[in-house]
């Protein structure tokens, strides 16, 4: 086959000109400027929160030993984070979170891919999965404690039940909302069976799956905190037990310090998921022009 035989140079030039005109040249800001523009609203929000807290304390609504202000808590916060025991406790909590989350991913993916296979299964289990997702995880603990006593398994059980439905739902939604036009293209290309999943359905479901993971993590983290407060296992130190014992000892500055740590861990991990989500959206061109 003789290709490229009579390409007209005029057409070449015209198309190239049109292409150049149509490709918008975006202006890129320096990484430093971008980091700063993300950082200052956050810092402002923290400053506002601290000020509000201090104002409540200054108003004399509660005794200072019941509700200490930031000026008492922040030094204690530094004490807490410089203890070796504290980091061991954070380590145990994070290990529980990651193991629970990993198990939830496996179960969520298995259930999600089974249910997304057929319309009947979706009708049968779809609302059940959504129901499980909205069920407060703390409601599972009485059953978990009966089944597993005060053990690691009880905590794991609830963490997995908290996260898996969101992960499964994310996958199902992603598969359901594969654009029909892309499915038609896949059909014309002759994609079917496993190839259809590998080259079309799984990549198309990815953004929704990542959103499901992010939500699943939030549920896992909440379930874990509830679990560590309710299921106190002897001779273990976790973030939950730190919270529990500082309340028992009425050490409010320490208790609030641990709460701040929980908040910071939550924010950091959310940022990680946000990063994954943004990277994906940028690559796909799904970016919404905000921020």
């Amino acid at each position: 086959m003789a290709l490229e035989t009579h390409k007209s140079p005029d057409l070449d030039r015209q198309l190239a000109g049109l292409d150049a005109l149509e490709l918008a040249t975006g202006t890129r800001r320096s990484p430093l400027a971008r980091a700063w523009s993300a950082l200052w609203p956050m810092l402002t929000a923290v400053a506002i929160a601290l000020t509000a807290w201090e104002l409540v304390v200054l108003s004399g609504w509660k005794e200072p030993w019941v509700l200490p202000g930031p000026r008492d808590v922040l030094p204690e916060f530094w004490n807490v984070v410089s203890e070796g025991d504290f980091w061991a406790a954070v380590g145990l909590t994070m290990r529980r979170a990651l193991v629970g989350f990993a198990v939830a991913i496996v179960i969520g993916v298995v259930i999600g891919s089974l249910v997304s296979q057929s319309r009947i299964l979706r009708r049968a289990f779809g609302s059940l999965i959504t129901g499980l997702q909205t069920m407060p995880s703390i409601a599972w603990f009485p059953l978990a404690i009966l089944l597993f006593k005060l053990s690691e398994s009880a905590i794991l059980f609830v963490v997995v039940l908290g996260a898996a439905p969101s992960i499964a739902n994310g996958l199902i939604t992603g598969v359901d909302y594969t654009p029909p036009i892309l499915l038609r293209v896949g059909k014309v290309m002759g994609l079917r069976g496993l190839g259809l999943y590998r080259h079309l359905i799984i990549p198309a479901a990815l953004p929704s799956f990542v959103a499901g993971l992010k939500q699943g993590w939030a549920f896992a983290w909440r379930s874990l905190m509830a679990g560590e407060l309710l299921v106190i296992i002897n001779n273990t130190q976790s973030v939950g037990t730190l919270l529990h014992y500082s309340r028992e000892l009425s050490d409010t500055p320490r208790m609030i310090s641990v709460m701040i740590v929980i908040l910071i861990i939550g924010i950091l991990i959310d940022q990680l998921f946000g990063l994954a989500d943004r990277t994906l959206r940028n690559r796909w061109g799904l970016r919404t022009e905000t921020g």
């Binding site: 009579h6 049109l18 293209v185 198309a204």
Partner: protein, 272 residues
């Protein structure tokens, strides 16, 4: 008119048919609520012919292409494409957003059984033939609408590539469903030149659906007018104007006017 007769008879002499539809009928649903999309459509397309299907809304143009592409089965009648390699292009580029430009084309080549080692090179050739060399690593959303549609064209062509080892002698049919409908006029005119050149170079058989009469006259060897609800072939207009044509030439305008009148007559039947 003489030219038309000569062209038609020379085509009949070769007696080769790339796409043959005989008495094709397509109904959606069943019973009283059934919608008849196509009724007794018979059409023959010669190898290397550029046929434009023209009709108002509801003429079943897209249904017809789906049937030829074997994405759907006719309710009655038969469709014969002689085992041709068939590619389909839509109004939307429908590129996979998770793949780069070259990735999109390489996937199509993969589906055609092109060995991995050759895919990159052949994708580059295809992109060069739609004037998109240098954009291999871009993602679809980074391109303009016209450029995306050219990538879609390259991907469609990728589905029609013959095996290099042996030519199986089978034809290549490109089905286009209003492919330039969403583009601005300037881009569309350039893409008309582009598709005409590629059609010639690759000896493609093209079935091109449009609702734009001038576009049909600009591109087609033959314009087939379809009626609406149900779609039937109303009339065929051979286009014997010399190529390359310009969409704004008086000759194109004059034939387009004739066809438009016929189309309006057809549409007005539905008003009463």
């Amino acid at each position: 008119m003489n030219q038309a007769i000569t062209a038609a008879s020379s085509r009949a002499a070769t007696d080769a048919v790339a796409v043959r539809l005989s008495g094709v009928r397509k109904a959606f649903g069943s019973g009283d609520t059934a919608l008849l999309a196509l009724d007794d459509v018979s059409l023959q397309v010669a190898p290397g012919e550029f046929v434009c299907l023209l009709g108002a809304s509801g003429c079943g143009k897209s249904t017809l292409l789906n049937l030829v592409a074997a994405l759907d089965e006719p309710t009655a009648g038969s469709i014969d494409t002689g085992g041709a390699r068939i590619a389909l292009m839509f109004q939307e580029p429908a590129l996979f957003p998770w793949l780069t430009v070259t990735g999109n084309i390489e996937l199509a080549l993969r589906q055609r059984g092109v060995p991995k080692a050759e895919r990159r090179r052949r994708a580059a050739e295809l992109l060069a033939s739609v004037h998109l060399s240098g954009f291999e690593k871009k993602r679809p959303h980074q391109l303009s609408g016209g450029m995306r549609q050219r990538v879609a064209l390259a991907r469609a062509l990728a589905l029609t590539v013959p095996d290099e080892s042996h030519d199986d002698g089978k034809g290549t049919v490109l089905l286009m469903d209003e492919p330039f409908g969403a583009l601005d006029a300037m881009t569309r005119d350039l893409l008309h030149d582009e598709i005409e050149r590629i059609w010639r170079e690759r000896a493609l058989t093209v079935l091109f659906v449009t609702h734009n009469v001038r576009e049909a006259v600009r591109l087609g060897d033959r314009v087939v007018l379809l009626s609406s609800r149900p779609g039937r072939v109303v009339e065929e207009f051979p286009v014997t104007l010399e190529r390359p044509r310009r969409i704004d030439s008086p000759e194109v305008a004059s034939l387009a006017a004739t066809i438009t009148d016929r189309l309006r007559e057809e549409v007005s039947r539905h008003g009463s």
